[in-house]
């Protein structure tokens, strides 16, 4: 698998807990601020790109430009300093910012022309575009704001889980537990129900006992959960916000 974005980078650079990219984004330390923005962009660029495509009905090329310009503007204007976690979730804040940004598209275009030196962010739009083909929503004005919100929520979850899966892969490789990840990949990440192997099938394939399959999967799921939670924590500014987001992420409230 390839890295989607050159600035999304490997995820094992930050402390697993307590570090909040949202807070660090307004740090006075430039290096800290940069790391924080990279983390936020890695988690949000795909959902926001797809959101612009879906909600605003922008073409592939326009959506690329707007996504690039939006994040460049976010860095340049230090807009995240205005984010107040007690008033809204980061996702809501970013969505409102994007809506505002796209609505002022003409002005933004002018600003882009003026700002030739604006930071260029390397993002893999081709991957995002091919993922969009899976989305079961139409493009453009027919998408209601509520539906677009739901779409953004789901895409954010997809992005966050995707990053967590990648980090789990690296983690298992470092811990010499490649088989654990491979079992997780074959069993939990298999798209099609019909192609999903049984525990017995996996045990036969890898020459291990069925109980080992159970234990290895339990290990991988536990680590996946830990990593996903740590990533979520990076995206929240307070304990309370983190808990609310985690409840939503785990689907606790909807059960």
């Amino acid at each position: 698998m390839t890295q989607d974005t050159s600035i999304g980078g490997p995820g094992a650079r930050f402390p697993a807990t307590r570090w909040s990219a949202v807070r660090a984004a307004s740090s006075s330390d430039a290096a800290e601020r940069k790391r924080a923005l990279e983390t936020i962009i890695a988690a949000y660029w795909k959902p926001l790109y797809k959101y612009i495509r879906i909600r605003w009905g922008k073409s592939n090329e326009d959506a690329k430009d707007l996504t690039q310009a939006f994040f460049a503007s976010l860095i340049e204007k230090k807009s995240l300093c205005d984010f107040d976690p007690s008033k809204a979730r980061l996702r809501t804040f970013l969505r409102v910012c994007v809506d505002h940004f796209v609505a002022n598209e003409v002005k933004a275009a002018k600003r882009l022309k003026r700002g030739g030196g604006a930071e260029h962010i390397s993002l893999d739009f081709a991957a995002a575009e091919s993922e969009l083909a899976h989305a079961q929503v139409s493009l453009g004005a027919s998408v209601s704001p509520a539906r677009a919100d739901e779409f953004l929520e789901l895409e954010h979850l997809r992005s966050l889980f995707g990053l967590a899966v990648e980090e789990l892969r690296r983690f298992c490789e470092n811990k010499d537990k490649k088989m654990h990840f491979r079992l997780f990949e074959l069993y939990d990440l298999e798209d099609t129900k019909a192609r999903r192997p049984s525990y017995a099938g996996l045990a036969a394939q890898f020459g291990i006992a069925v109980t080992d399959v159970t234990n290895h999967l339990a290990y991988a799921r536990r680590e996946f959960r830990r990593i996903a939670m740590a990533k979520l924590r990076e995206m929240t500014a307070s304990e309370d916000e983190y808990r609310r987001e985690a409840r939503a992420l785990l689907g606790v409230d909807s059960k």
């Binding site: 991957a127 899976h134 889980f161 799921r221 536990r222």
Partner: protein, 331 residues
């Protein structure tokens, strides 16, 4: 990075939400419900071969605050051995870092889900008296519940009445405090490294409880000054809930007066104990005067007449016959 389908996302969500019971004696059966800070699962105790309820924190708890609260709830339950309180079997931390405790699995109906058509006022008041007995026991052991609502009362399939959800309970005095402090470090199933030893205190101004059932002083966040009369207010609200669900014909002024007294805004005017409240309900059920409802002479006569109706009828019949005989004799 591979694209994760909606189905894979749902699967990962479910896998992440389920507790990791590896290394424990429990096997997950199904999710049974959820509370304020945890999810309750039906699990099988593989050693004893019985079903238990596992209450597990539904979130990772980086500050340790929620784990302390959950384990504190378990330790309070463990110190309150009473037929009206669910017994706790075990407590600790799972391999995924989430705190849990195991308790008896109770099947039944919540008080707020009782069928108004099936349960008579008499049945409901008998249930209420059992609740009063349980809360009175907890008060005697120095524990306030602080969140008594119909949703936190369970009626078991054999008619047992259980007071649940002691998650925000307050310890008033300390015969059991040592046990509360030390339990998290003593009893674990899958390791206790992450268990905090200290018992958290609720900050002044914190509002805990349920609107409509919490006392005015509780709603104002006067945590330090709460006493058992706060629970008595909640019991009054439960009593009111129980009889207002029934038709207006079954409602009576003495019952309304009992609920009103229990729910007095000034706690000095409430019942001084749960036993006193339960006693008034008992008096009502026996057709006797209740302390909350001063009777007029007509009410007294009416109740007296109702109680000795047969005797009065017999005496009146006797007098009538005697009078008729006397009149007949004179003629």
């Amino acid at each position: 990075m591979n694209w994760l389908s909606d189905e894979v996302i749902s699967r990962l969500q479910a896998a992440s939400a389920l507790p990791d019971l590896s290394g424990t004696r429990y096997r997950l059966v199904k999710r049974a419900g959820s509370g304020g800070m945890g999810v309750v699962y039906l699990a099988e105790d593989t050693i004893l071969g019985r079903h238990v309820a596992l209450k597990v924190l539904d979130l990772p708890d980086t500050s340790g605050e929620l784990a302390v609260r959950l384990l504190r709830e378990a330790s309070i339950l463990a110190t309150l051995e009473h037929p009206g309180i669910v017994p706790v079997h075990d407590a600790g931390t799972l391999a995924d870092g989430r705190a849990f405790y195991a308790m008896k699995f109770v099947e039944g109906t919540r008080l707020d889900h009782l069928d108004a058509q099936k349960e008579t006022l008499f049945d409901r008041l008998r249930i209420f008296m059992r609740i009063c007995e349980t809360v009175s026991f907890a008060h005697a052991r120095g524990v306030l519940h602080r969140d008594l609502t119909p949703g936190n009362i369970m009626i078991g399939s054999f008619g047992e009445v259980l007071v649940m959800d002691w998650g925000v309970a307050k310890i008033l005095r300390s015969p059991s405090k040592r046990a509360v402090d030390s339990l998290p470090n003593q009893t674990t199933t899958a390791g206790n490294d992450a268990l905090p030893a200290a018992v958290s205190q609720t900050a002044y101004g914190t509002v805990l409880g349920t609107v409509g059932y919490m006392s005015p002083e509780q709603a104002r966040g006067e945590i330090d000054s709460l006493d058992l009369r706060s629970d008595i207010f909640s019991l009054g609200a439960i009593l009111q809930f129980l009889f207002t669900q029934l038709s207006s014909e079954t409602q009576s002024p003495p019952l309304s007066a009992i609920a009103k007294k229990a729910m007095s805004p000034d706690r000095a005017h409430r019942y001084e104990s749960c036993s006193a409240l339960g006693q008034d309900i008992g008096q009502y059920l026996d057709g006797l005067p209740v302390s909350a409802y001063p009777e007029t002479i007509f009410t007294k006569l009416s109740r007296w007449g109702s109680k000795y109706r047969v005797a009065i009828v017999l005496v009146l019949t006797y007098l009538l016959v005697r009078t008729l005989l006397l009149l007949g004799y004179r003629h």
